[in-house]
């Protein structure tokens, strides 16, 4: 028999708020829900979502996926060469950020960066010839994500570039990222002039071998505790990496000095890292991917395991839906622009770095980074609110990453595509903004949101998968 009449009444109130007042005034218990139309009013998606709420298969799958996500222990194991290290990469292949995209549709910075990579590889002798080669179809383009890798902004990785190698000690899976070039005229913003190519060559011939020598001396670097410590030092490990980079230098410097590498190379390496606040970003991203890859592939899971942008499309992948991308137009970021630039100059949202938010840091850990609150409204309270809002769309809190400003609560972690559609709360992403013309570089930074359409498509696909 239904125990409704014999148990004390406890009401969840969806809709007219005054009904909750009446219930409370007569001694009942009522919990208000701050409701808005699910899927931002898309009724069909809302109904598909409703049928997936508390679905036993999905709940079980998510529990399993979430356990793998938080159990992952990413550690830096060394530096390799992309063409020899990345799974499935071809000899004439260039990897890029975000979901798949053909050359003709790529944004300016991505095309510029690809031209730079072709010049760097020596496949063409001039920018014009490189462009023609890229358009000829003789170069294979593929997302970094399809080859175990991530890259910030244009995310360009070509075969002879050095890559960080990260291993999840808990699951054995490996991920990779390119090395950060610093700010200004850099490949990831589409610059491809001589100084850019020269720096890439130096990174390949000096920086990478020196770091590898240091790492060989040091042994694996556990990244999770390093990131957790950086969160306590004012980084959110996406748009601010000053603390994490310092911590990395602190770990590496003694090993580098004992590595036997040439002292001039060690000096140049430390100098380069010290001058590159975002040096750790690429490691943060690969570490996040290592955690999320571990959680990917549990059938029926609605856990979001990828969010990435190619400057044209925003794409997500979901743990229980294989390699499928669910895409929507990438938004242009309404952020803070450097003097002389405005939103009209900006490329649409770009880069694989939203992997950090997917793993529950970056914008989700905004509460950790009061120094950059100008991006989210200007006050520390806004930063806390951003983090708290994300708890409505995540499966749990990651106690490995705690937030002092929230009494050491864990970061909201593990986006459930169902919850995004249900609440209409879109994942917040801290991001840099690239100029839409290749090579100009970063012109601002700010906060953007993942488009709802990606999540409604994923939920609809999941509904079909559960039915089938």
């Amino acid at each position: 028999m239904n125990p409704l009449l014999s148990a004390p009444l406890s009401v969840l109130n969806v809709g007219v708020g005054s009904f909750a007042d009446a219930i409370a005034s007569q001694g009942g218990t009522a919990t208000r829900i701050d409701w808005t139309p699910p899927a931002q009013g898309d009724r069909a998606a809302g109904m598909a979502l409703a049928r997936l709420v508390n679905h036993p298969r999905i709940e079980a799958a998510n529990a399993k996926a979430y356990r793998k996500l938080v159990a992952a222990q990413p550690r830096l194991i060394g530096i390799g060469v992309a063409g020899k290290t990345l799974p499935g990469i071809g000899r004439r292949m260039i990897l890029h950020a975000g979901p798949p995209i053909a050359w003709a549709r790529m944004c300016g910075p991505m095309q510029g960066a690809i031209i730079g990579a072709i010049l760097f590889e020596g496949w063409a002798t001039s920018a014009a010839k490189a462009r023609a080669l890229a358009a000829s179809g003789k170069i294979g383009f593929a997302p970094c994500h399809h080859h175990g890798a991530v890259g910030p902004m244009a995310g360009i990785i070509s075969p002879s570039m050095p890559v960080w190698a990260i291993e999840n000690a808990a699951g054995g899976n490996r991920t990779y990222s390119n090395l950060n070039e610093g700010l200004g005229k850099v490949l990831r913003f589409g610059a491809n002039g001589a100084e850019v190519i020269e720096r890439l060559r130096w990174m390949r011939t000096v920086l990478a071998p020196t770091l590898q020598a240091g790492l060989a001396r040091l042994g694996p670097v556990e990244l999770k505790p390093l990131m957790a410590q950086a969160l306590h030092m004012g980084d959110e490990v996406h748009n601010r990496n000053a603390a994490a980079t310092s911590l990395l230098i602190k770990k590496l410097a003694p090993a580098l000095l004992k590595s036997g590498a040439a002292s001039a190379d060690i000096a140049a390496t430390i100098e380069f890292m010290a001058g590159t606040d975002h040096f750790f970003l690429n490691l943060s991203m690969a570490a996040c991917k290592a955690m999320l890859d571990a959680a990917h592939g549990v059938p029926y899971s609605s856990l979001v395991t990828t969010m990435a942008r190619n400057g044209v499309d925003f794409g997500i992948r979901v743990g229980g839906l294989g390699r499928r991308w669910f895409t929507a137009p990438a938004p242009v970021v309404d952020g803070l622009y450097f003097a002389g630039y405005a939103m009209a100059d900006a490329a649409a949202d770009l880069g694989d770095s939203a992997i950090t938010e997917t793993a529950g840091i970056g914008g989700f850990a905004m509460a950790a980074a009061p120094a950059i609150v100008k991006f989210v409204g200007g006050t520390a309270a806004d930063a806390l609110a951003n983090t708290v809002a994300m708890t409505h769309i995540t499966l749990g809190r990651n106690n490995a990453f705690t937030l002092p400003a929230l009494d050491f609560a864990g970061t909201p972690c593990g986006i459930d595509a169902r919850l995004v559609v249900d609440t209409g709360i879109l994942p917040v992403i801290n991001t840099g903004i690239a100029h839409k013309a290749p090579g100009v570089g970063q012109i601002g930074a700010g906060v953007t949101r993942a488009p709802l359409a990606c999540f409604t498509q994923a939920v609809t696909a999941l509904a079909a998968a559960v039915k089938g």
Binding site: N2, L9, S10, V11, L12, V14, F19, W35, P37, R43
Partner: protein, 512 residues
């Protein structure tokens, strides 16, 4: 006249809040018409119907849209500014109790409150079925206050609920009382031994109030929604309600309230009633009393009768007959020749329906926009003829306007117009108190009743304004306070809807 619109992007407010806001704005000087809505396609269409088409606006379903029309741009702008200020003001509950992080979905609320056992859903109808589905999947019973839910969805929800041992009250369930707690539009009543299962919200309000006023009390009042006893749904919730009350220790007598159901549904419901092991009082509103048979079944002729039978049975007495007892005296001056018709202006659809059945039996032809006899449907609900009873809560009146239990403008205008009609002898009004109703109905009605009577007297006539208050002294509006104010304005108050209809019939019947 000038019109202006204002859009508040990505701002959601529930429809009742918006209706209240519209009503406040409409009362401002120089404002002719105003409507605040979420800019869904359906609402935009309603605005157009109400003559408030905003033209091409960049507003979607997540945006709050206000359209105002008034005598000049200063008045319209002032009204829109007032709206913005009102919207910006945090509600007491939102600012105080809730704090910054209310749950944003049923799922997260369920995690926060593991003891929750019912979801009260009052979202716009197009989203309500999805919320109810979520609630059921989360193991919650549902009261679906929302209307405009597809019948297919209702059937699917109720079957799912039944399979999971849960109950869906509604859709379009206005009233319920569970364990003494009012849900939706309900009255504050004493707890006691009488359980109600009602397909009609106002019918349930009438019975629970009368039970209270007779000194007894209510164990639970379960609402089924108006479509539950249709062939398609088959009375799933009413049968569940009967069984739940049968198993409930506190309930000694069960009252069933519905318009006459489809015959096969009636059979299923009455079978459950006969087998429930407790006395059951059945009021199929307006139906012939001989349609119900069974040892433990007691037929009630009216809602009033149902309450009296239930109280007698609960107190171990013999059930009284359908006679409505002493009616209040009518002390009025002489009416003019030709004054012979009754005009009823109801905010409760069930009250209108019951009165139509009674007046039809007493006086013959009764016209209505929601008639008992489909041949007596008014061509134009805005124009009365002969004996006419109007349900002002009907969709034709509420589209784009607040419900008449909240907003008295429509009824007050109509009241003055009916009083102008030289053929009218009596006007009947229902006054509904309780949670969700207007905070002070008498303050709205009394001045208009006085004005109507004064107008009529100046023309050398007299008119009876008859009615009843559906409420209790425990209601927020206070029964005595409301009744006294209405009596002072010259309204003749009976105890119930049935009594008011009987009194109006006797006034008009004596003048044929």
């Amino acid at each position: 006249m000038v019109s202006a619109t204002r859009i508040f992007p990505n701002l959601y407010r529930d429809s009742i809040s918006l209706m209240q806001l519209s009503a406040v704005l409409a009362a401002r000087p120089g404002i002719d018409n105003v409507s605040a809505v979420m800019a869904t396609p359906a609402n935009l269409a309603l605005l157009a119907e109400a003559g408030l088409a905003p033209g091409r606006v960049a507003a979607g379903p997540n945006d709050l849209l206000i359209v105002a029309r008034g005598k000049d741009s200063a008045a319209v702008t002032a009204a829109l500014d007032a709206a913005a200020a009102e919207i910006a003001r945090p509600t007491v509950a939102a600012a105080g109790v809730a704090g910054p992080s209310l749950p944003r979905s049923l799922r997260s609320a369920r995690l926060q409150v593991p003891a929750a056992n019912l979801a009260l859903v009052s979202t716009p109808g197009e989203y309500a079925a999805a919320e109810a589905m979520k609630a059921l999947r989360l193991g919650l019973n549902v009261m679906l206050f929302s209307d405009n839910v597809d019948l297919d969805d209702e059937v699917a929800l109720k079957r799912l609920a039944k399979a999971r041992g849960l109950m869906v009250m509604g859709p379009d369930c206005g009233t319920a009382i569970v364990n003494g707690v009012p849900l939706g539009f309900a009255n504050a009543v004493r707890r006691g031994a009488i359980g109600v299962v009602g397909a009609s919200g106002t019918g349930t309000q009438q019975v629970t109030c009368l039970v209270h006023r007779l000194g007894a009390g209510i164990s639970h009042a379960i609402g089924t929604g108006g479509h539950d006893l249709s062939r398609r749904v088959g009375g799933i919730t009413m049968v569940q309600g009967i069984r739940a009350l049968a198993a409930d220790q506190a309930t000694k007598v069960i009252v069933l309230i519905s318009k006459p159901p489809a015959p096969e549904v009636a059979r299923a419901v009455l079978k459950a009633a006969r087998n429930c092991g407790k006395p059951v009082v059945v009021n199929f509103i307006g139906a012939a009393p001989d349609s119900v048979r069974g040892q433990n079944l007691h037929v009630a002729a009216t809602l009033d009768h149902a309450a009296r039978v239930a109280v007698a049975l609960a107190q171990g007495g013999a059930p009284p007959g359908p006679d409505l007892g002493q009616l209040p005296p009518v002390r009025l001056g002489p009416m003019a020749a030709g004054q012979r018709y009754v005009r009823g202006l109801y905010s409760g659809g069930t009250f209108c329906y019951e009165a139509s059945a009674m007046l039809g039996a007493a006086l013959g032809t009764v016209w209505s926009n929601a008639p008992v006899d489909p041949r007596r449907r008014l061509g134009d609900a805005r124009k009365s003829k002969g004996h006419t009873l109007i349900d002002l809560g009907d969709d034709a009146f509420t589209r784009g306007h607040p419900h008449p239990m909240i907003d008295f403008r429509l009824r007050n205008e109509r009241l003055l117009r009916e009083a102008e009609d030289a053929e009218v002898a009596a006007i009947v009004l229902d006054v509904v108190l309780g949670f969700g109703a207007h905070p002070d109905p008498a303050a709205e009605l009394a001045p208009v009743i006085e004005k109507a009577r004064a107008t009529v007297r100046r023309r050398g006539r007299e008119i009876a304004v008859v009615g009843f208050v559906c409420g209790t002294e425990l209601d927020p509006q206070g029964l005595d306070r409301q009744a006294n104010a209405l009596r002072s304005a010259g309204m003749i108050l009976t105890e119930s809807n049935a009594q008011a209809a009987r009194l109006a019939a006797s006034i008009a019947g004596g003048r044929r």
